[in-house]
């Protein structure tokens, strides 16, 4: 199977439509998916949450104990092949476990750090011996894992790492020297996936065990949040790593580092979405109880508006997360036992743009939800015992780790530009086609969300037109115009979010009928109402900063005409209906 045989090409949402029946949605969960989710949820609620105070006091022994219990339940082995003691489950299950554990604060970080970036490099790039030696233990929780990429002077610029590796004279061991920073799970990790440059040049991955001579830990960092995950520097001083513990090939460390991050970003999006649902649930409980001016504050329009906004973002996050899970499963599902590392790497890179959206949209959804959840709790939100304060602090790191949101944003348009340069995507034709369509828009579809579906197309046209304008202005130097690229990324993220929500709603309505899926329709309508405005603003800002004066007026007018024709009245009423449904259920519902 080549990448070309995949039904959906990575990043193609940027320039072409998808059909509702080709996307995976939460309505497609199997009974087994639901049971797996239920187990993860019960583990969080019965085992993790009651220990929160102990965990927040950084009792890492308890974290380790919980991780081992998770191992007993199979919650560490979902993405490890069956042949190596895991369960070899699909990416939907991986997403579900991530979502269900997402509200576990620091524990959730420790857990997914272990199952994702600390285990996947061996799963996909290890030799048979390495897999046999490490994976069963990582799947059961007997071994816990850490991932050492970041250095004091190499954060986003990971390949600038200064840690070195040198093969000793007898050729038996690599000798590692350097310091890694912010290493999650360092306190109790048994294995450290470590990147170092062989002979100071060739960026390479190694599996380092905690007892290898020359490995030591720096002091525990005093963090703002996620306190129950251990974060320490890891120091290598002439650390002796057996030659057979080299992971992948010399000089190919970046392939592992960057590929595995894609799945890490996907997983982070799942966790953030799960945490957002929890935050909304906490808030719904509070606003229904809290009385001011003789009514519950849930009665107030301002509260309802915030509740609806949270639910809309969560709906979009959920839709795009599971859509991406479906793509990842198609690309990687059959590769648990694959030997062809080139193919694995290609498949893991395929959905880099979608994974970046998961990461950015998920983490920003959680930040928005945590912020409004705290606001709706008023003064009590600022007090520890209500739990929102912790959520607010825990949330913030998600916009930073697994690649900052800025790095992730830049990646989205850059991937498209690179594909265009290589001739894989006929970008100039697509831009021209978008411009033509903008001049003569045709609304053909008749359906429950036809306006919304048309809005997705309009957003795509505006995105492509903006790419065209930016390229006209900056030419091949566009790659250096970060402010412009980030605006393009914002539009791209809105596009994926909008399209994922619309496709999901279309699919659900086709399956269950309009009456039963009324709430999904409302969520989608209100989401589109707001995205049309935000995309218009992004496009106009881009035009304002990038386009020369003579063209400015016509470009702006084209954007406004394209998007404003799809405006709809009654957003406030729709949002009120959304809020009432959430309040009635007392938890996120769609």
């Amino acid at each position: 199977m080549e990448a070309d045989t995949l039904l959906y090409r990575g990043g193609s949402f940027l320039y072409g439509p998808a059909e509702a029946d080709t996307v995976f949605t939460p309505e497609d969960f199997t009974e087994e998916h639901r049971m797996i989710a239920q187990t993860a949820k019960r583990f969080l609620e019965q085992d993790v949450r009651p220990q929160n105070e102990v965990l927040e006091n950084q009792d890492f022994g308890k974290v380790k104990e919980l991780l081992q219990k998770a191992g007993d339940l199979g919650l560490l082995g979902h993405s490890v092949p069956e042949a190596y003691g895991g369960l070899g489950l699909d990416k939907i299950s991986k997403g579900l476990v991530g979502e269900m554990l997402g509200s576990g604060g620091g524990y959730s970080v420790a857990h997914s750090n272990h199952t994702c970036i600390a285990t996947l490099p061996i799963t996909y790039f290890g030799t048979e011996e390495q897999k046999g030696k490490y994976l069963p233990k990582l799947a059961s929780g007997e071994f816990l894992g850490a991932y050492c990429l970041t250095e004091p002077n190499a954060g986003s610029d990971a390949l600038a790492a200064q840690t070195t590796a040198r093969l000793n004279e007898t050729g038996t061991h690599y000798i590692l020297n350097g310091t890694k920073m912010f290493i999650t799970n360092a306190e109790f990790a048994d294995t450290f996936i470590t990147y170092a440059k062989v002979d100071g040049k060739a960026f390479t991955a190694f599996i380092v065990e905690k007892d290898f001579p020359g490995l030591s830990l720096g002091p525990e960092e005093q963090k703002m949040g996620i306190k129950s995950s251990s974060t320490r520097p890891v120091i290598f001083e002439d650390c002796e790593v057996p030659a057979e513990n080299l992971l992948g090939e010399v000089g190919k460390g970046h392939v592992i580092a960057l590929n595995v991050l894609n799945l890490g970003r996907f997983n982070l999006g799942s966790a953030c979405m799960g945490a957002s649902k929890y935050g909304l649930g906490l808030t719904l409980g509070y606003v229904k109880e809290r009385r001011q001016f003789g009514r519950t504050i849930a009665d107030f329009g301002a509260t309802q508006e915030k509740i609806a906004s949270m639910a809309m973002r969560i709906y979009a996050a959920e839709s795009l997360q599971y859509r991406t899970a479906g793509y990842l499963e198609e690309a990687l599902g059959g590769l648990y036992d694959a030997e062809d590392q080139g193919l694995i790497a290609k498949r893991m890179m395929e959905y880099a743009a979608e994974c970046a959206v998961c990461k950015v949209y998920g983490s920003e959804t959680l930040d928005a939800v945590a912020d409004e959840a705290l606001q709706l709790h008023g003064g009590y939100g600022y007090i520890k015992e209500y739990g929102v304060e912790q959520m607010y602090r825990d949330s913030r790191i998600n916009r930073i780790f697994e690649g900052t949101n800025e790095i992730n944003r830049l990646l989205i348009p850059m991937n498209l530009l690179k594909a265009a340069m290589k001739g894989q995507v006929p970008l100039p034709d697509l831009v021209e086609q978008a411009a033509t369509e903008m001049n003569a828009p045709q609304v053909e579809e008749i359906g429950p969300v036809s306006r919304e579906a048309e809005a997705v197309k309009a957003v795509r046209r505006v995105f492509l037109m903006s790419v065209g304008l930016a390229y006209e202005t900056y030419g091949d130097k566009l790659g250096e115009e970060q402010a412009v690229l980030i605006k393009l990324a914002d539009m791209a993220i809105a596009l994926y979010a909008a399209e994922s929500a619309v496709l999901r709603t279309e699919k659900a309505v086709a399956e269950n009928g309009e009456e039963r899926e009324k709430l999904k329709r409302h969520l989608t309508q209100a989401l589109i109402d707001e995205l049309l405005l935000s995309v218009e603003m992004d496009a106009r800002q881009l035009i304002q900063s990038a386009v020369d004066n003579p063209q400015l007026g016509s470009a702006t007018a084209a954007v406004t005409a394209e998007l404003s024709r799809l405006q709809r009245g009654g957003t406030a009423d729709t949002k009120r209906k959304i809020a009432l449904a959430q309040l009635e259920a007392g938890r996120y519902v769609s």
């Binding site: 009974e31 087994e32 049971m35 797996i36 239920q38 187990t39 019960r42 583990f43 019965q46 007993d72 339940l73 199979g74 919650l75 082995g77 979902h78 369960l87 489950l89 039963r516 009635e584 259920a585 007392g586 938890r587």
Partner: protein, 257 residues
């Protein structure tokens, strides 16, 4: 040991109940294993692990109940049986369910049958004892501890806050009270294994039961939600006036005395 567990599919405790056209609306609601039945399943698994044997979970109702059976299998039960009455019976009551279950169990030579103390929906607590009665075996309800030694059984049962120790013998039917154990939840490997475990589906015909013989004896006259809780009232004034006002309110307004 030959162990059977009787379980029921019920509304998730988090679900809001809505009534329309005289029926509880099930559309889109989440369903779970009746929580008291989870104690029964857990106890059955523990007894099997200690004494050997096999655990079979049995439920009665519609196709959908297969999900709860799968969950029980994922927890560790060995086999499952669904007595599907979807096409045969419109109404089920305690009599119907107990009659059908007893008919199914009569030739199974069960050593131990476990059920929940009550179901959180109907809440009658009758099915377990009725089944025992029909099978002519011992029955102890609301148990919080169970010890088996050969065919001797020592049980602690909950007496609404107090406890009572009972010695009895197998074969036996018990119903589980909260506190009996801490039910496990299925592990992921358990969920995967459950897919391959046997789940048998039977209909009344397979048990040679005539529909008329098990027809529900309870007639449902009306289904309605409890009235909304009104704001409380604080009586004021002289104590004896308050007492007589209260008595009059209870008699004339609340009509409870």
């Amino acid at each position: 040991m030959n162990i059977y567990v009787l379980i029921k599919r019920t509304f998730d405790t988090e679900e809001k109940i809505a009534v329309s056209n005289g029926k509880i609306q099930e559309d889109g609601a989440e369903f779970i294993i009746n929580p008291y039945d989870e104690y029964a399943i857990e106890e059955a698994i523990q007894v099997r692990d200690e004494h050997g044997g096999e655990v079979t979970v049995v439920t009665m109702g519609e196709e959908e109940a297969e999900k709860q059976l799968r969950t029980a299998l994922a927890m560790g039960a060995d086999k499952a049986v669904l007595i599907n009455t979807e096409d045969d019976l419109e109404e089920l009551d305690q009599f119907t369910v107990a009659s059908v279950l007893a008919e199914y169990l009569k030739d199974k030579e069960a050593d131990l049958i476990l059920a929940g103390n009550v179901a959180i929906d109907g809440g009658s607590g009758q099915v377990g004892p009725r089944v025992a009665e029909r099978l002519g075996i011992n029955c102890v309800t609301t148990i919080t501890d169970l010890k088996i030694d050969g065919s001797d059984v020592t049980i602690v049962r909950d007496m609404e806050g107090d406890s009572e120790t009972i010695k009895t013998s197998l074969p036996l039917l018990v119903t589980a009270q909260q506190g009996l154990n801490e039910p496990r939840y299925p592990s992921l490997p358990g969920i995967m294994k459950a897919k391959k475990k046997p789940l048998e589906e039977l209909e009344l015909d397979d048990l040679d039961i005539e529909e008329d013989d098990v027809e529900a004896k309870v007639e449902t006259v009306e289904v309605y939600l409890p009235p909304k809780k009104e704001a409380g009232r604080i009586l004021e004034g002289d104590l004896s006036d308050q007492v007589s006002e209260l008595a009059s309110l209870l008699r004339n307004e609340a009509k409870v005395i």
